[in-house]
Amino acid sequence: MFKRIDTLIAPLVAVAFSVLFGSIILLVFGANPIETFIRMIDYASTPRSMTLILNSATTYYFSAVAVAIGFKMNLFNIGVNGQYRLATAVAALVAGYITFPGYLGIVVIIAISMLVGAAWAGIAAWLKVARGVSEVISTIMLNFIAIGLIAYLMAPTVLGVKTAENVIGTPIIPAGNRFPGVSLPTAPIPVYGMIFLAVALGFGYWYLLNRTRFGFDLRAVGMSPSAAVASGVNVKRMTVYAMLLSGAVAGLVGLPLLLGAQYTFTVNFPGNYGFTGIAIALLGRNHPVGIAFGALLWAFLDVSAQILDLTGVPREIIVIMQGVIVLSVVIAYEVTRRVKVRRQQAAVGSAGQ
C-alpha cells in the first residue's frame, strides 16, 4: 500500500510544482493560467491531437527505454541521437531500394535498424571496456560522426535522391515496406502501428530486468559493481551487452515516423529524440510504466503547446515547464528515497535489537 503511494508521490509532486511554476510564468506574461490550461486540454482532446500525442509518445517511448537500459547499469547513453539517426537512414535506404514479399520487408527493416543502432553503440561499448573511454564522451562524439556519415550516404552521388520538395533524402518507401497504422474514430490521420511494438517492448524490458538472470546481473552491476563482481558477474561483458541492447532499442526510435508517416529519410529528419528520451527516462524512473506516462505527458505538452501561439502566449512556456518537471522530479525522487530508507530503518529498529 505504502509502496504504491511512494512511487506515485514524487512524479505527482513534480508535475504539480511545474504546473504552479508554469502558472506563475503565464501570469507574468499577462495570460490567465486556468484558461490557458483548459484551452490546452480542450485542444489536446480532439481526435487529431490525441493521435499526434500517441504518435509522439511512441517515438519518445523507444528513446526513453533505450536510455533507461543504460541507466540501469549506470551507463549514460547520450548517443541515442546518433544511433537512431544512422539506423533510420540505413533502414530507409534498404526500405526505399528493396522490395520484399509480404510483411517480410517490415521485419527485415526493423531488424536492420536495430542492428545498425546496436553496432553504433557497440563502438562506444568496445571503447569503454577495451580502452577505458567514458561512454559519455564517446557516444557524444559518435553522434557527430553519425551526422557526417549520414550526409555522405545521402549525397545524390552515393545513395541519396532529390525528393519532391527539392530536399535530399532516400527514395520514397513503397507501400509494402510501410508499417500500417490504426485510426482513432473520426481522426484524419492514423496512429502509428508501431505503438503496439512499443507496448511489447515495455513488457519485454520489464520481463528482462525483473524476471531473468541477465536482468538481475545488469541491475546488480548498476547498484554495486564490486558486489556484482564478487557474485560472479563479468562486468565488462555486461557493459557490452547493455550498450548493444540500448543501441538496438535506439534503432527503433526513428522507425514510427519513417515507416508510419514520412516514408523517406531526409537530411531534415528530426534529430533530437535522444535527449527527450533522457528526460523521459528520468521522469519515469527507468520503469516501463513510468516511462509510458512520462512519454504521454511529454507528448501532451508538445502537442497542446501548439494552441498557445494562436492565443498569443509564447509556446516556450511549455519547454520551461518540461524542464521544471524533470528537475523537480529528480529532486522529489531523492527526497522520497531518503524518507523511505529512514522509515525502513525505523521499522527494522522496532522489529528487534
Partner: protein, 505 residues
C-alpha cells in the same frame, strides 16, 4: 603538554555504535599510535578528529583548548593535518604545484612560485623530508609521494599530523624512510598520530600506543615507561571475554575439497601480495589462517574466488578451477562470506529477497535456466530469516536498512544454503553481537560435520583456535608457520603472526 585530548567521544550510526566512550591523550611532540582491527572504530575516530564527522557526545581539546569542528577546514585552522592512505596528488604536476594547490601564495595577482619554493625547501630541510620541489609527482615512488603529502599538510601549517595506515602501501625500506622522517618531525615538536594494525611497525615508531576494540579505547601503553610486546597488543586488540568457540572431535576426511598450489598474486606496483601459497582443505576440515590484517589474507581470498588475477593452481573437488571465472567457481559449490559485506556481499539498495539471489544467480531456488523464480526466492528468504534469526520486519525492506549484525546473519544464511562443499569465510563473526556469533559458530560446526570444507580467516585468535582443525600463519603474503589448534596458545600465535618466532609449536 597535551596536543590532543579526546574525552568521552560517542558516535552512533543507524544500527551501529562506531565509537563509545573514547578517551585519548596525545602528548605534544610524540608519535602516538592507534591500533585496532578493521572495524574497531579507528577510522570513525579519525574522521571525528579531522572534522569530517561530528561526534554525538564528548569533547575534543587541541593544545588545551576545547574545539568544535564542522569541517576539515576548522581542524586545519587549529593545526591538524591528515595524510590519507590514498594519496591526493596530481601526477602531471610538480611537487611544488601539488603542494601549493589550493593555498597558492600570490604576488600581484599571480602565483608566487619563488616564495612557495623557498618555503618548501625550508620545510623539507628542517624536517629531513628530502624532497625536490621541481620533481614531477608522476615520476616519484610511493614513499616519496607520501612525504609530499606530509609536506603538503606541513606547508598548510599543521603541527599535528594524522597518518592513516601510512605503511599499507609501502615496501619495507620505504617504511624505514618514513619512520626516519617521522622521527625528524618529532624532534621538531610535531605531533604524529599514527593509525595502523601492523604491530611490529607500531612498536618500532610509537612512543605511546592506544588500543581500540569494538569502538572503545581499552588501554594506552607507554613504551618509554614499560616494555610493550606485540602479543600484549594482539591480546588487547582481540580481547578474550568472548565465549569460547570449540569444535567437538575431528570430522576431517580423506577427500580433498580445495587444493591450492603455488598461488602468487602481484599487484599493479609489482609487489607480491601473496607468494607461493600451497595448502589443502579436506571435507569436514576447517583451516584457519592467522595473521595480522593486511598480510595477504584478502588477496588470498580474492584469488581463490577468482576476482583477482593470480598464478598457480586451484583445484576444487578434483576440478581445475584455476581458469574458471567467479561464477563457475561458485557453481562448483563455493560459498563466500567476504570481509567487506556492504561492498561485496550486498546490494544495499535492493530488497532483502533480491539479495538472496546475489552470488547465486544461476542456482536454485533463484533461477530455472535463464529465468528467475522470484516466488521460490522469496520463500527461501523467509526461511533464512527464520533459521538465522535475522531481525527484519520483512523481506521487502532494503538491505541497507538492516543493522550490520543482521546483514551478516543474512549473508551467512544465504551462503550456507544449497549445500556448499567449500566455504571461504573472512571474519564471519566480525561486528555481530555475542548471540549471533554463537549462532554462526553453531552453523559452521554443523556444516563441518556434514562434510563442509572451510577456509576461515579471522583476526579473533580465540575463534581461530577454537574452530579450526589446523592453522596456518600468514606474514607478508607467505605462510610462515603451521600451528596445531589443540596445543597452541594465543600468545604463541601472536608471536608467529608478528614474525617474532618462526614456528608456533
Amino acid at each position: 603538554m597535551l596536543a590532543v585530548e579526546l574525552q568521552g567521544i560517542w558516535k552512533r550510526f543507524p544500527g551501529v555504535i562506531a565509537n563509545s566512550n573514547i578517551n585519548l591523550k596525545v602528548e605534544q611532540g610524540s608519535v602516538h599510535a592507534i591500533v585496532g582491527e578493521n572495524g574497531a572504530g579507528k577510522s570513525t575516530l579519525m574522521k571525528i578528529l579531522y572534522g569530517m564527522q561530528r561526534a554525538d557526545e564528548g569533547t575534543i581539546s587541541v593544545n588545551g583548548k576545547i574545539v568544535e569542528f564542522d569541517s576539515p577546514s576548522d581542524s586545519i585552522e587549529v593545526g591538524i593535518g591528515m595524510v590519507h592512505q590514498h594519496f591526493m596528488l596530481a601526477d602531471n604536476f610538480t611537487v611544488l604545484e601539488n603542494v601549493v594547490l589550493g593555498s597558492e601564495p600570490t604576488k600581484a595577482g599571480s602565483i608566487d612560485f619563488a616564495a612557495a619554493k623557498s618555503r618548501i625547501s625550508e620545510i623539507s630541510d628542517s624536517y629531513g623530508l628530502e624532497i625536490d620541489a621541481d620533481a614531477l609527482v608522476g615520476d616519484l615512488g610511493v614513499g616519496d609521494r607520501q612525504r609530499v603529502e606530509i609536506l603538503k599538510v606541513l606547508y598548510r601549517g599543521a603541527r599535528i599530523l594524522i597518518l592513516d595506515e601510512p605503511t599499507a602501501v609501502l615496501v619495507p625500506h620505504e617504511v624505514d624512510e618514513l619512520f626516519e622522517a617521522l622521527r625528524g618531525l618529532k624532534s621538531e615538536g610535531i605531533t604524529v598520530i599514527f593509525i595502523s594494525h601492523k604491530l611490529d611497525e607500531v612498536l618500532q615508531i610509537a612512543d605511546e600506543i592506544t588500543v581500540i576494540r569494538r569502538g572503545t579505547t581499552v588501554a594506552t601503553l607507554n613504551q618509554k615507561t614499560q616494555t610493550v610486546t606485540a602479543e600484549q597488543l594482539a591480546e588487547l586488540m582481540v580481547g578474550s571475554e568472548l565465549p569460547t568457540p570449540e569444535t567437538r572431535g575431528s570430522t576431517v576426511t580423506e577427500q580433498v575439497v580445495l587444493l591450492v598450489s603455488e598461488l602468487t598474486s602481484v599487484n599493479s606496483d609489482g609487489k607480491a601480495e601473496i607468494s607461493d601459497l600451497s595448502f589443502k582443505i579436506h571435507a569436514g576440515e576447517i583451516l584457519g589462517i592467522a595473521g595480522v590484517e593486511g598480510n595477504g589474507q584478502s588477496e588470498l581470498v580474492e584469488a581463490i574466488m577468482g576476482t583477482r588475477a593470480a598464478t598457480g593452481s586451484i583445484w576444487i573437488n578434483d576440478q581445475d578451477a584455476s581458469k574458471l571465472g567467479t561464477r563457475k567457481r561458485r557453481e562448483l559449490g563455493v560459498a563466500y562470506i567476504p570481509e567487506d559485506r556492504s561492498r561485496l556481499a550486498l546490494l544495499l539498495d535492493a530488497p532483502l529477497w533480491e539479495n538472496r539471489i546475489l552470488g547465486h544467480q544461476t542456482q536454485a531456488p533463484n533461477a530455472k535456466g535463464i529465468r528467475l523464480t522470484p516466488k521460490l526466492t522469496k520463500m527461501d528468504t523467509k526461511r533464512i530469516i527464520q533459521e538465522f534469526d535475522v531481525r527484519t520486519p520483512g523481506i521487502d525492506v532494503l538491505a541497507s536498512a538492516l543493522s550490520g549484525g543482521n546483514q551478516q546473519k543474512f549473508i551467512v544464511g544465504r551462503e550456507m544454503s544449497g549445500n556448499p562443499i567449500l566455504l571461504i569465510a573472512s571474519h564471519p563473526t566480525r561486528g555481530v553481537d555475542v548471540g549471533a556469533q554463537a549462532a554462526i559458530w553453531d552453523e559452521l560446526r554443523a556444516a563441518r560435520e556434514k562434510g563442509l570444507a572451510v577456509l576461515l580467516i579471522s583476526a579473533d585468535l580465540d575463534e581461530l583456535i577454537g574452530m579450526s582443525d589446523s592453522i596456518k600463519v600468514i606474514l607478508r603474503g607467505k605462510f610462515v608457520a603451521d600451528a596445531d589448534p589443540a596445543t597452541v596458545t594465543p600468545q604463541q600465535l601472536g608471536n608467529a603472526m608478528t614474525g617474532a618466532l618462526k614456528a608456533a609449536n
